[in-house]
Symmetry: C2
Subunit: 321 residues, 2 copies
Amino acid sequence: MNIDMITAAADRLHGTARVTPLLSSPALDALAGRRVLVKPECLQRTGSFKFRGAYNALAAMPAEKRAKGVLAYSSGNHAQGIAHSAQLFGVPAVIIMPADAPQLKIEGTRSYGAEVVLYDRGRESREEIGDRLAKERGLTLVKPYDEPQVIAGQGTCGLEIADQAQAMGVTEAEVLVCCGGGGLTAGIALALQDRAPGFTPRPVEPIGYDDTARSLKSGQRERNTSEAGGLCDAILPPTPGELTFPILQTLCGSGITVTDHDAMRAMALAFQHLKVVAEPGGAVALAGALFDPTIQSDTVICTISGGNVDPQIFAQALTRM
Amino acid sequence: MNIDMITAAADRLHGTARVTPLLSSPALDALAGRRVLVKPECLQRTGSFKFRGAYNALAAMPAEKRAKGVLAYSSGNHAQGIAHSAQLFGVPAVIIMPADAPQLKIEGTRSYGAEVVLYDRGRESREEIGDRLAKERGLTLVKPYDEPQVIAGQGTCGLEIADQAQAMGVTEAEVLVCCGGGGLTAGIALALQDRAPGFTPRPVEPIGYDDTARSLKSGQRERNTSEAGGLCDAILPPTPGELTFPILQTLCGSGITVTDHDAMRAMALAFQHLKVVAEPGGAVALAGALFDPTIQSDTVICTISGGNVDPQIFAQALTRM
């Protein structure tokens, strides 16, 4: 993994992925006691940053291989990224999703023309189902984070953060990134190392699913005790990625954990002051930026990594205003 | 009014106003049966396009005049645009708001440091209150739409629409604009006339407050019977502006009216597919783009003019999904 893979990804995504703006609000600055800049990847195609990595992985694949179709496991955002990318390339996509994924994400994935195969997280193995389908149909698996071209695609978000924040005069900042398997965090970290060495990436996770924060502390990949049931469905991996963790270990500051309540408050504040829709897992970095006591820098930058949230959950978050 | 005033406004706003993106979603295209491009001015500073005109008006004012302070009448979006612009220039702002304006807009205006004077729409005259305060304190009134520098500022949104849509290969389109007094519509119309002559602007209003549509039909400025009580509080003027109406008459296609129900559905669809927050009055153009039977063009472009909506109303809109 290196910066050249990320700039190559930026070339592949140019004109296809959206360049999301960098938002701010005096009210959020006042609340945090520092300048807060927000990268709303919920405005990316398919409603999350995952489109970047998914599209780049498909674009980088040999055409004959891609033509046979692609396969992904995902609770929803990577699913939609792969489904929409496959649709744009005109190739088949099969997505294996947990039956308890948010309804909006299941419908969203189907709306991009993908075949959705639901499985029971408790009783079935998505790997077994995936292996069988891949063999039967010649599909290529695109992993959600432990895949170099996916990490490179997510890194394009870091290139934009570096350019946009530096154009605003920012030279030093903590950059808080919503962290599941670590693909976005690793990609952003690699981009910032090259383009904005005064920016320090820090992963943010929900309490109870803080495998990355604990792993950064212990120096080895720790596991979460549960993979399901959390409010922040987008970022509940079993453990940091094999490829992503060494990158995080080298380039990131310490991890931050936030409560579900603070994630919901951050959703309400993004509604009120930024006018964007954040899903719970997509709001943890903003929650960290606003409420975490360990932040030191005058400017804090954070991602809103996705906005694919069922309306009932969103309405519930609005009651936290 | 001419294009040079709009390009001068763009220079004044450069680096201060946000260049909002042009969003789209395959689901909205499918629903409309044509390509739908959305200009989310809810992402503009202060949560609506009004910041463009307000900031331009203050920037264009002689410094000594501006230093004494500014005054505005507004139900909320122009209020916040003026309040934040005055804050950025470090000058006082007094905003006269109806006591029944959305709570979020009153609080938002105060949060930008403005003095808010509430009045009773039924029993008091905002003009009398304003005249008295202006005389006492030497404040300059900045009207919400019948003011050339305000129209020029709103026109910068039209320059961006022309550039962004043409970069996507669009050469012909109906451009639907949420229309109150007509400042945004007139500004966009003037910009498009110069930069994208294949684009036809059309004002969109809520049923019951369709003064502009009726005026375009009759050829004279018609009045609304009520100025209050509508869901779409942002766009309930008494009648089209003196300055704006002749521009609309020359440059716009026929007006479109939408129901409150369709405005609420458009809010829910913007939540689901674009991940942005639209207020009712800000969603009427998207409602028109999706549901109006008179649209002919292969591509329809629409503004989401603002996102300053109380959470209770927004939660109610989400039940329309």
